[in-house]
């Protein structure tokens, strides 16, 4: 079993659906410790990414990553635009000219994406950012990469747990850092959208395997 371009497209579409369902919640979280735009940003960006995939009709993983990444970079702005954009650009670069990704290849692409986010944003785990959901998710996926569905499921669980764990933290990166101690007691909004990204991946994997 592997993710072909259509399945990758489903992943992005399912991510868009989840973001759209949770848009208000993401904005509410960003209102508490940020600037009240994370929901709107991600809704705009993921809708643009889905539209771009429809018009660009990529045939390789590289083209897929470029289409999604550039759509995000070009439409989101803010911190999450370059970060999620870089994630997909590096994901695509890792997949390269291939037309699909098996478990280990998908694991490598996710790892490349994560590394891109880290090098662009320079956050470390514990800084209360999307990194705190993405890092355990990629680790979990790698650990179980032989079975795509269960790897994706455990990545989704790890992302969600990582996101939940941001609640008590005092932010050191992103806008929430301006609040100092007051940032504690709230989930990081970017970590919640990252949980949605991995939950969408798990749902897409289930569809692929069905």
């Amino acid at each position: 079993m592997a993710f072909d371009i259509a399945a990758l497209g489903r992943w992005v579409a399912l991510f868009r659906d989840r973001v759209s369902d949770e848009q208000e919640r993401l904005t509410a979280l960003d209102s508490a410790i940020g600037d009240a735009d994370h929901g709107a940003n991600m809704a705009r960006g993921t809708a643009a990414a889905v539209a771009k995939l429809e018009s660009a009709t990529p045939t390789t993983v590289g083209e897929f990553g470029k289409a999604v990444g550039m759509a995000l970079v070009s439409t989101v702005g803010g911190a999450s635009g370059p970060l999620y954009g870089t994630f997909f650009l590096r994901f695509g670069a890792s997949g390269g000219d291939g037309a699909e990704l098996d478990g280990p290849a998908l694991a490598a692409a996710l790892r490349a994406g994560l590394e891109g986010v880290v090098s662009r944003g320079k956050a470390e785990p514990g800084d209360k950012t999307m990194i705190d959901a993405m890092t355990p998710a990629v680790d979990a996926f790698e650990a179980g990469a032989s079975d795509l569905v269960s790897a994706a499921r455990s990545a989704a669980r790890a992302a969600r747990a990582g996101s939940d764990a941001t609640e008590p933290l005092v932010a050191r990166k992103g806008r929430a850092s301006y609040l100092g101690e007051r940032s504690a007691g709230h989930l990081d909004p970017g970590s919640v959208s990252t949980a949605l990204l991995f939950e969408a991946l798990a749902a897409a994997a289930e569809e692929v395997s069905a």
């Binding site: 904005t27 209102s31 508490a32 410790i33 940020g34 600037d35 009240a36 735009d37 929901g39 709107a40 940003n41 705009r44 970079v73 070009s74 439409t75 989101v76 702005g77 803010g78 911190a79 999450s80 635009g81 370059p82 970060l83 662009r120 944003g121 050191r172 990166k173 992103g174 806008r175 850092s177 301006y178 609040l179 100092g180 007051r182």
Partner: protein, 335 residues
């Protein structure tokens, strides 16, 4: 338009198109500006002479007149308008940079927010023009630490765009322009407070709830809560909460300063003048000599009530550049 948007107390149509629609009106109102609507870049109708350094700034919308209102002779060459409180994308910054490059390089003026920094950085990586950039990070409410995102860029941006814009207009080469920009960035500090939150059109309700008898101290310019919440206080006490942290952070006594008492958008000018009166008393008591003053709405948070104070220790060169002619919708003198 849904019923929720209907009930919002805003002069808007489609909430998703607020920035686009505002740029249409801005272009209609201001013949001296031109708007690249596709990229949402505000430009001078008449570009500056070839061979001069161009200045590009930008950021989220909702801070008007910043940045589009500072495009014009003696200040910016282009401003990129992001969504409300969301930094512009690299595409926008790139389009602006290419549009204004007159062969002498382009300075990016970037307020220190993770999003702004990354988006301008990506644009600079892709630009063909020679690009330098300066970071504004003047907000003393935020801890200045290597391990965090650092201080936010707030009110000093206005002063920096004016002074550095004058240098570029005079024909200073890129390295000179950068030197002056860095000097301004190093010499300015700001502190802000809010009496109310503000309402982002896409969110449809105030970003935070603030009880009738409380206010936020140490806010930025994105409608976010501040460093601490305290009981509402009379103007003389609020003035102390703005002046003290700045004077604690750097020594402003002795040399002249440029002072800006800035409204966040929802506080009447009457109150801003009143606040400046209180601030002026404290500055005088502290031995700070104010050489130039601005009082009004220069860098705002939509309809937030509140104000911020910016002090810039200005040397003779900065004062001369400050006094140089400027002709923009938001700041104009000398022509």
């Amino acid at each position: 338009m849904g019923s929720e948007e209907q009930a919002m107390k805003k002069l808007i149509g489609d909430t998703a198109a607020v920035v686009t629609d505002a740029l249409v009106g801005m272009e209609a109102a201001l013949p001296q500006l031109r708007v690249d609507h596709e990229n949402r870049v505000v430009l001078r109708a008449t570009p500056k002479d070839a061979g001069k350094v161009a200045l590009v700034s930008g950021g989220g919308s909702g801070h008007e007149p910043l940045h589009g209102g500072y495009v014009g002779y003696g200040m910016l060459d282009a401003a990129c308008a992001g969504e409300v409180f969301t930094s512009p994308t690299p595409d926008q910054v790139l389009a602006a940079t290419s549009a204004v490059d007159r062969g002498a390089g382009v300075l990016h003026i970037v307020k220190n927010y993770t999003g702004d920094v990354m988006n301008f950085e990506m644009a600079a990586e892709l630009a063909e023009a020679e690009v330098a950039s300066v970071l504004v990070h003047d907000d003393v409410a935020v801890e200045d630490s290597l391990y965090t995102a650092g201080r936010r860029g707030v009110g000093l941006t206005v002063l920096l765009e004016k002074i550095v814009g004058a240098a570029a207009e005079e024909g200073a080469p890129l390295d000179e322009v950068v030197r002056i920009a860095e000097a301004v960035s190093a010499q300015g500090r700001s502190m802000g407070m809010a009496l109310t939150s503000c309402t982002v059109p896409a969110a449809g309700k105030p970003t935070f709830d603030l009880p009738d008898d409380e206010m936020e101290i140490g806010i930025g310019i994105h409608g976010e809560p501040g460093r601490r919440r305290v009981k509402v206080a009379p103007a003389p006490e609020i003035a102390e909460m703005l002046v003290d942290p700045i004077l604690h952070d750097f020594d402003a006594a002795g040399g002249p300063v440029i002072a800006m008492l800035n409204g966040m958008g929802g506080s009447p000018l009457l109150e801003l003048y009143l606040m400046y009166g209180e601030v002026a008393k404290l500055l005088e008591k502290a031995g700070v000599r104010v050489a130039r003053t601005l009082v009004g709405d220069y860098i705002t948070s939509l309809d937030m009530a509140g104000c911020s104070l910016t002090l810039l220790r200005a040397d003779d060169e900065m004062l001369r550049l400050w006094d140089a002619p400027v002709e923009t919708p938001g700041l104009r003198w000398g022509r």
